[in-house]
């Protein structure tokens, strides 16, 4: 308390100095007078009396000084002094200040922007009460071809829920979509199926109405729905009378029981929630995310141990199925950010490098300036400033520069964060709504600015104050170069090395991206427009009804002006889905190779023409290949080669049934080229196509993508395609309408984003490094003007001087590249999971980026080299 009071009074003591000084002078004066009078009384002569009093006091000025130190806060006062002085120095050198602040603004701004995203996506808590107690329960394959998101099979969920004792509640949920009708135009909305405990687990309640009752997961009672605030406002005018009303989801009536609070859209930005009944079906086992809230005092580790024990005891699956299954308790956030973390960590590392390069640049600037300020430092030291005091002064200056850079950096980030998000592929950055510049981001920027200021300021400050007083004063006018030279070269070397690492990373990503884009998908995506529709089985409940819809749509589409061909496929290429299955061959001599599975799309006549898939032999499906005609299939080339190498597959028979009856045999009538179904980076999947008119399972018919090949710009037919859908069934919403090229671009959006961003950072790094090289060379040429003058006077040609500078540049850059390459070899390995057909140590890429760096360095050296070559020996010799 006393300390605090004293501290406060000392703070007050910083103000109103003049009055306080006057009072102090008065007090000391009266003290002296009293002392002198006493001394006179003892018989001293007046002069002696005064002298003795002064000695006893210990000097007027010293007393005042120590009194003032106690009165105010010397540390603070010095800081204010330093700040004032620093501001004055920075104003006096606007060029230096602008370059230093600008360089740092780039580095700090990039870091702030990336941290803003990292903070929003990875660090900020989920918007639920006590989100750190929410965990995912997962028992999934972690390796091999079927790597999945954290989830639990339904049977495991039920068993785990029965046996568990550590979670307050558990809920299973899944995201899906539904057609909303009866509320304006039909529209496709994002829905979530959740068990009744879902909202209680998250501890989020509807803002209006109620959540699900325990029995509402039973058939017959489950026709209820909770709406998101957003959907409620968009579609129902925020009218609370909607409660109790019925809306249609996929044609089935659901009565609205609640509206969630604004901003709530978990999971997957859901717009409506319906109850989910988890029950065991002997044919299918769904695997869904499961979230639970741990009881107070229970740790994640305990839950993990419980899950592992239960997994061994309860999840009695055949041994071979259990292989590769991993039991995990994961933070809930993992569901959303698991995929993006890798990219973000790499971006954060990359901008960190950019900032280091910026630091090295500014340190070099400060070093150059320190040489010029040697005399100033010496004079200040001579006047009594301690070395620590001088260092503190210089650090104040660099911290001020860094803070100015940080402030500009925040401005850059304000502009940069939206740009960053805009660059990112839509839907790929989870929790995008959490991204904003908040207190944490500002604190982060302030922190790195201060650290930056100290990092780049420390070495120059020590250098500037190191030389002895006599030495410096003696050398006044001339400058010390040797020692600084080594430090500056080391800084430039590290800049080049860091820039090379970034360039190598960006180069690898670029090469990988180009390779990916050059992949032939097996069809011609140009001029193809697609339209995807989901037919709800509540309205279209027989395959015949669905086929009527498809037929009418197709005939109208092919009649549109500008359409060359129209077709349909149930799961389109590169759409992220495929139906894989086995089949049988109608020849005992040629058994199906074990493990050979095929994709089984259903297509309409004209599909191959619409997509531009090459026909290799045989004929296409036609309208006559209908339910009553002989059943036919078309296979891809890889199927033909694998099953009937060297022979014509036309006329051979296969069956999709495990135990085919005589009518189940399908005759091959054609062979087409293989296409990429799963993704450009994946291999082509062997496929057996069936005509949709001969398929009767609704599952294969309800989801259909219609494609048209157009004579001109495919987007121009989009309005007409919408019109066709309205004519055929005005209640069916479009799931999507896109050109095939846009759809392909979307599959490469993520690598494109990564490549672009790393590219931007790498270019920034090279530019900064080039500026650094320029700075060092320009400075050294200026320092060596005298020497160059002598050389030229002794007969050196301009070309010799030019090469002297270029030689130095090359030596610097080559050393930097060697160090950087060693670092890059170690670091690019983190990229390997993002690279397609490129090794992280790809020699061609390394060579290319090294060459690029050499060119950048030579370009940076050009001006100093020319300046050196133009030195006039007469002027140079007269210079000193």
């Amino acid at each position: 308390m006393r300390g605090l009071r004293a501290w406060f009074l000392r703070l007050v003591g910083l103000f109103n100095k003049e009055r306080r000084d006057r009072e102090l002078a008065q007090e000391i004066e009266s003290h002296l007078q009293m002392h002198i009078e006493d001394n006179l009384r003892t018989g001293m002569p007046p002069a002696e009396a005064r002298r003795e009093a002064l000695i006893k006091l210990g000097g007027i000025e010293q007393t005042k000084e120590s009194y003032r130190d106690r009165r105010g806060l010397p540390v603070l006062e010095h800081l204010i002094q330093d700040l004032r002085y620093a501001l004055r120095m920075l104003r006096k050198n606007p060029g230096f200040t602008a370059v230093a602040v600008g360089t740092l603004a780039l580095g700090i701004g990039a870091n702030t922007a990336v941290f803003t995203v990292v903070n929003g996506v990875l660090l900020r808590p989920m918007p639920f009460p006590q989100p750190d107690r929410l965990f995912l329960v997962s028992f999934t394959p972690q390796h091999g071809p079927f790597e999945t998101n954290p989830s639990l099979a339904d049977s495991h969920y039920l068993e785990f829920r029965r046996a568990d004792g550590l979670f307050e509640r558990l809920a299973s949920f899944t995201g899906s979509g539904a057609n909303l009708t009866g509320a304006g135009d039909p529209v496709r909305i994002r829905t979530a199926n959740v068990t009744p405990d879902f909202f209680p687990v998250l501890r989020v309640n509807p803002a209006i109405g109620r959540g699900f009752l325990a029995e509402e997961d039973q058939p017959g009672r489950d026709h209820v729905v909770v709406l998101s605030d957003e959907l409620w406002r968009d579609r129902f005018g925020a009218d609370s009378r909607v409660l109790g009303k019925e809306i249609k989801l996929d044609g089935a009536g659901h009565s609205v029981i609640g509206i969630m609070p604004p901003g709530f859209g978990f999971p997957y930005d859901a717009q409506a929630w319906t109850p989910l009944a988890v029950r065991i079906d002997s044919h299918n086992s769904f695997s869904r995310p499961v979230v639970g809230r741990l009881k107070p005092g229970v740790s994640r580790q305990e839950a993990q141990e419980e899950l592992e024990t239960l997994a061994h005891q309860l999840f009695l699956t055949p041994a071979e199925d259990r292989n590769g299954l991993v039991a995990q308790i994961l933070p809930l956030k993992e569901l959303l950010v698991g995929n993006i973390r890798g990219s973000l960590v790499i971006f954060a590392g990359a901008v960190g490098f950019v900032l280091l390069i910026a630091c090295a640049n500014v340190a070099n600037l400060l070093l150059a300036r320190a040489s010029g300020r040697q005399l100033e430092m010496a004079v200040r030291a001579a006047l009594g400033a301690g070395r620590w005091r001088l260092i503190r002064q210089l650090l104040t200056e660099s911290a001020l520069v860094a803070l100015a850079g940080g402030a500009s950096g925040v401005l850059l980030a304000v502009w940069g964060v939206p740009a960053l998000i805009a660059l990112a592929p839509a839907g790929k950055i989870a929790r995008i709504e959490m991204i904003r510049i908040d207190g944490w981001v500002l604190a982060f920027t302030f922190g790195i600015s201060l650290i930056t200021g100290i990092v780049f300021g420390l070495a120059p400050a020590f250098q500037a104050t190191r030389s002895g007083l006599r030495e410096s004063l003696g050398q006044a006018g001339r400058t010390l170069t040797g020692r600084h030279e080594a430090l500056r070269c080391a800084l430039v070397l590290s800049e080049i090395a860091l820039a090379l690492v970034l360039l190598a990373g960006a180069g690898l990503m670029l090469k990988s991206f180009l390779r990916l884009r050059a992949v032939d998908p097996g069809f011609h995506p140009e001029n193809v427009m697609t339209m995807t529709i989901d037919l709800p089985d509540s309205v279209y409940n027989t395959p015949a009804q669905m086929r009527v819809f498809h037929e009418r749509t197709l005939s109208r589409l092919s009649g549109l002006p500008g359409v060359i061909a129209a077709g349909a496929v149930n799961w389109r290429p590169l759409g992220g889905a495929l139906i894989v299955g086995t089949f049988r061959i109608h020849e005992d001599g040629n058994p199906r190779p074990p493990g050979f599975m095929v994709d089984k799309p259903c297509v309409s006549p004209g599909y191959f023409r619409a997509f531009g898939i090459r026909f290799l032999r045989g004929r296409d499906f036609s309208e006559r290949d209908n339910a009553t005609a002989p059943r036919v299939v078309i296979v891809t080339q890889s199927v033909a080669e694998r099953l009937w190498p060297g022979t014509d597959p036309i006329g051979k028979q296969i069956s999709m049934e495990d135990h085919p009856k005589p009518g189940d045999w399908l005759t091959i009538i054609g062979v087409v080229d293989d296409i990429k179904q799963q993704g450009l980076a994946k291999k082509s999947d062997p496929a057996i196509y069936r005509p949709y008119l001969q398929v009767s399972q609704p599952f294969f018919l309800s989801h259909m993508t219609f494609a048209v090949r157009t004579a001109s710009d495919p987007l121009s037919v989009a309005p007409a395609m919408r019109g066709v859908l309205r004519e055929v069934d005005k209640d069916q919403p479009l799931q999507s309408i896109d050109s095939m090229q846009d759809l392909i671009a979307a599959t490469t959006a993520e690598p494109r984003f990564q490549t672009r961003l790393l590219g931007v950072f790498a270019i920034l790094a090279v530019a900064l490094a080039a500026v650094g090289i320029y700075g060092v060379l320009a400075y050294s040429v200026a320092q060596r003007t005298h020497e160059i003058g002598i050389r030229m006077a002794l007969g050196a040609q301009a070309a010799d001087v030019l090469w002297m500078v270029f030689g130095r540049t090359l030596a610097l850059v080559c050393a930097g590249i060697a160090i950087g390459a060693a670092g890059a070899l170690g670091l690019t390995r983190v990229l390997s999971k993002f690279l397609f057909e490129v090794k992280p140590s790809d020699p061609a890429t390394f060579a290319a980026v090294a060459l690029l760096l050499v060119f950048a360095a030579l370009a940076a050296g050009l001006i100093p080299a020319r300046r050196a070559a133009q030195v006039d020996p007469m002027v140079a010799l007269r210079y000193e």
Partner: protein
Amino acid sequence: MEEKADVWQGTLALMVLKTLETMGPLHGYGIARRIEQTSGDLLSINYGTLYPALLKLEQEGYIASEWGTSDNNRKAKYYRLTRAGRKQVEKEAREWEQTTAILARFLSPKEESS
């Protein structure tokens, strides 16, 4: 020069407080003289160091100051003990007694043995 002990900060504060307790309000010069006299002239303080010490005590609230007139009609700043200061004198005096008593026990047998 006769041998005189230096005074360090903590003890100086206590001496000032004790002086003010026994003497009542006093100006800086008076306090300095009084401390020297009380110590039997064994202590020599730089009078200048007294003023920062007084300021510190004032900032801590143990003493208060105001301008007054001295015996021979000179304007001077007078310091007096506050209530908190009185308590502090008691407390610190007690602590000093304890400390010196403990130290005395350490020092006396040592003298015997050496």
